[in-house]
Subunit: 212 residues, 2 copies
Amino acid sequence: MNKKVPEGVISRLFIYLREISELTKMNIHTISSAELGERTNLSDAQVRKDLGYFGQFGVSGAGYNTDELKAALEKILGKDSTWNVAVVGAGHLGSALLAYPGLKERGLNIVAAFDVDARKIGKQVKDIVVQSIDELSRAIPAKKISIGIIAVPAKEAQGVADKLIKAGVECILNFAPATLIVPDNVKVKDVDLSRELETLSYFLVKREEMKK
Amino acid sequence: MNKKVPEGVISRLFIYLREISELTKMNIHTISSAELGERTNLSDAQVRKDLGYFGQFGVSGAGYNTDELKAALEKILGKDSTWNVAVVGAGHLGSALLAYPGLKERGLNIVAAFDVDARKIGKQVKDIVVQSIDELSRAIPAKKISIGIIAVPAKEAQGVADKLIKAGVECILNFAPATLIVPDNVKVKDVDLSRELETLSYFLVKREEMKK
DNA sequence: CAGACTTTGTGCCACTTTTCACAAAGAATA
DNA sequence: TATTCTTTGTGAAAAGTGGCACAAAGTCTG
Ligand SMILES: NC(=O)c1ccc[n+]([C@@H]2O[C@H](COP(=O)([O-])OP(=O)(O)OC[C@H]3O[C@@H](n4cnc5c(N)ncnc54)[C@H](O)[C@@H]3O)[C@@H](O)[C@H]2O)c1
Ligand SMILES: NC(=O)c1ccc[n+]([C@@H]2O[C@H](COP(=O)([O-])OP(=O)(O)OC[C@H]3O[C@@H](n4cnc5c(N)ncnc54)[C@H](O)[C@@H]3O)[C@@H](O)[C@H]2O)c1
């Protein structure tokens, strides 16, 4: 075993877990790969293959027991542990994240927020008080924060990333439309909302061209 | 020519365009694929191959002229046209999007916002007044909206998608953690922030395991 | 309990995407 | 202008990913 697991597989396992959780709530205790695939817009083969990376969870002729599969997925995905998260930039997007309860539910606790703007510092969202960026280097290790979220303007993003990494953060979720240069041992994930929309719009451009 | 262009290529072209635009602003008029790759965390070969889908833009021994490449990319990506966008759900995330100037700059004009909550309806963000969801079916065609953004709770998402599609929207950007079932001619892009973070956290889980 | 039926798990194949590597094109130099 | 150096553009190889298809395993029915 121990073949490399593609990142796409992990991402889909979270989708399966989300769906399976719904099912257990609805008192449905068994599901086939075909059904699970239908509910997630994926093929039955894909569902089975993804699960196959981690073992055998199904019963031939019957499908998967949702309670068992839920437990197995939670174990695989490390849902028994929680992680501390910091948000840098308490503007529109940063504030939306601070206010969002969905992260805590999934074991991702936002425990600090930082900003440079004096008007933002001291502001409270839920149980988090926005701190000065100058406190970042002390607060990150003190609060055992391993994930940083960058929600500052693009031209500030690299500087913030450097600060986060220096303070010991291991993963970064970057909302700024900028390419971050980071050491190999730091994992960055970009979420570029404009680009997502632009890519959609390209689809429309192509469709228009087709019409002609 | 006319081989199929992978979607990943398109997404990267937007990254190149962003970078090249910076360069032209900085009065840098030439760049090699190696340098552009370095600035975007991509390989030189990838840069050249991606551009190669659309023609020849470089000069052997010299690299690319940034002004020409910028113009070429804008043409390829349809940056001369603009698209009208609607946001459904004027909560935390929806409001952040309404307030964000970066979309208009890229030819994506948010021209309408909808909500069910009476307290949100009538609220103004920039030049957009939040309308009742009941007005959606009239407003979408009237304002020639082709892209819809879903920023409502997960269990409302499918219903909102159905409304948007019925009203004539061709693309959907979905922020709700839910799988949308839509006809083939509608393009959906999911942005699941929780899942992005969870995938990062899995990386930490794995790293912890390694240590042992 | 035998036979029909269902569904898993997985080897294999097809397809997509990335990387390699190098000839050809042009720039720079003297 | 000849020579050297740089960098492109692109086939061909490699790597990665998803789908097919079917034996094997288990369920269900009469
Ligand atoms: N709001 C959106 O819908 C949206 C959409 C797409 C992309 N983005 C991107 O997300 C990022 C944040 O967007 P936003 O709308 O929240 O912007 P915003 O201007 O509302 O907030 C940015 C915040 O970052 C703070 N800041 C600036 N420099 C800082 C620094 N060096 N250290 C700490 N804090 C700093 C500012 O004081 C401000 O509070 C931007 O890069 C933007 O391009 C936002
Ligand atoms: N805020 C975040 O940082 C964040 C992070 C990850 C995911 N999300 C997801 O994005 C979505 C929106 O999040 P949010 O934080 O903005 O939530 P929110 O509760 O602040 O806003 C949701 C809005 O949708 C409106 N709404 C509800 N049902 C509606 C309907 N049928 N039609 C029109 N409007 C309707 C509500 O009135 C509310 O204004 C959710 O699905 C959430 O899971 C948000």
